[in-house]
Symmetry: C2
Subunit: 134 residues, 2 copies
């Protein structure tokens, strides 16, 4: 018998850890191959990527599709259940972006490579200019 005190515990079991939320954020927009994910997340090791993908697959969040080719071709994509996380993942990205903005505005040396969307952070920062993606 598994007992949770509050729903967030179950959510964090699935998207917690250093890599899972990052992987899922990349998979929001399109299915990706192992190598594409590795390039999108340069710091991750092959071992960790495989391990995290296996766990997400086991939890029913992503699907793994093997194209029987040489060299191997495997694609990972969000399942319906994974897709139900996309609003949450968007918010995780946007909140982080706003945090980075406000820290940079406060003089910290911070950069962000891939921006998703815009500001939703509090007072410390007057709201900034909006940024359109192409």
């Amino acid at each position: 018998m598994t007992t949770y005190n509050i729903g967030v515990e179950a959510t964090m079991e699935i998207i917690g850890g250093k890599w899972k939320a990052i992987i899922l954020c990349h998979l929001r927009h399109q299915a990706m191959r192992n190598g594409e994910l590795r390039r999108a997340i340069p710091q991750i090791t092959q071992k960790m990527l495989t391990q995290q993908l296996r766990e997400l697959e086991h939890d029913g969040i992503i699907s793994r599709t093997v194209f029987d080719q040489i060299p191997p071709h495997v694609e990972y994509a969000l399942t319906a259940r994974g897709d139900s996380l996309s609003g949450l993942l968007n918010q995780l990205c946007r909140w982080g972006e706003a945090l980075i903005d406000s820290r940079r505005a406060a003089g910290e040396q911070i950069t962000l490579r891939h921006r998703d969307d815009v500001n939703l952070l509090p007072p410390e920062d007057a709201h900034g200019a909006e940024n359109q993606k192409g």
Copy 2:
């Protein structure tokens, strides 16, 4: 120079880990004392609670107010920046609740003590073509 590839990395640095999101979820509704949080999160140890609260305070997410009394009285509350997480925290709770519901519906022995809100998860879904390598 700190560099992030995607916003979610910054967010997870702050609410990641086993306890932080849980603590923040409890603080969404009211300020709480050390002992209240400990009772609300029975599995956490005093050391971990203190440590996580310190980190959240350092990150500007919660405030720590000391009432100069004997015995000591200290209250923790979300700051404006912490409060900007509340929508996100609500979603983390609700998604987890929906996941627990669907697992219980699938026959798993799962319970949830404190419920926040309702369903936003999809039905158990068959995922796409999944080939197995042999």
